[in-house]
Amino acid sequence: MNVSSEKVQDYLVINVEGRLDTTQSDSFEKQVMEMLTGDDKKVILDCEGLNYISSSGLRVFLIMQKKMAAEGGELRLCNLQPSIKEIFDMSGFSMIFTIHDDRDAALNA
């Protein structure tokens, strides 16, 4: 699992790649919480390279969403692979998150 961030226009874009399983979720949570300092009100989580997620990874997504909402910010997801989208649909997460097809759509929505 790899996490990186970049500024694109007035968005903080966080890229997550690889497998987000139970052994990786604590590290993922720690890294994204360091990136979400509260200064960036618009955040995009680009999941293009994410190829596996379990409930422990979904849990961190939910924590991010709650943190952003509590701070008056906005979190958008993009580039979910079909297998990941299926897990989001199953768990009801598709209704909780704003999901865009790709990064351009997320930036311009």
Binding site: I53, S54, S55, L62, A69, S83, I87, S91, G92
Partner: protein, 138 residues
């Protein structure tokens, strides 16, 4: 009938063994990647629950997954000798709640039920046996 066995111990790093085994089995039995991923996910959730909750302490314990392909079904039997626990009795989370009302956690068993076509639990002597069945194209 084709079979496989994954031998695990009660440490989360053994998730790697589940991943490797499912990659090999998927290739050998020609299971589509999406099914492989979701089955791997269900196994992870079941295994993680056992590791986190089944045992009194961190002493090494064996957890075995017997896998077979039969009549268009993948059948997984996960066996451990931890305290009795029937995940089929766990309450369903409300997946229609908005983010602010969703509890953090409680999704694992729900995902197992959604992914698998059948989930059965038996306690046989000192052993928990969780059977997960996934229908695939024969």
């Amino acid at each position: 009938m084709e079979t496989h066995k994954i031998k695990l111990t009660n440490k989360l790093s053994d998730l790697e063994k589940i991943r490797d085994a499912m990659e090999n089995i998927g290739a050998e039995w020609r299971i589509d990647p999406q099914t492989c991923m979701s089955v791997n996910l269900a196994l992870e959730e079941a295994f993680t629950n056992i590791v986190n909750y089944a045992f009194e302490n961190n002493d090494p314990q064996e957890i075995v997954v017997d896998i077979k392909k039969q009549d268009g079904k993948l059948i997984f039997v996960i066996k451990d000798e931890g305290r009795p626990y029937d995940p089929t009795k766990a309450p369903e989370p409300d997946t229609s709640l908005p983010a602010e009302d969703r509890p953090i956690g409680g999704l694992g068993i729900f995902l197992i039920r959604k992914i698998m076509d059948d989930v059965k639990y038996q306690r046989i002597e000192a052993q928990n046996q969780l059977t997960l069945i996934k229908n695939i194209n024969p």
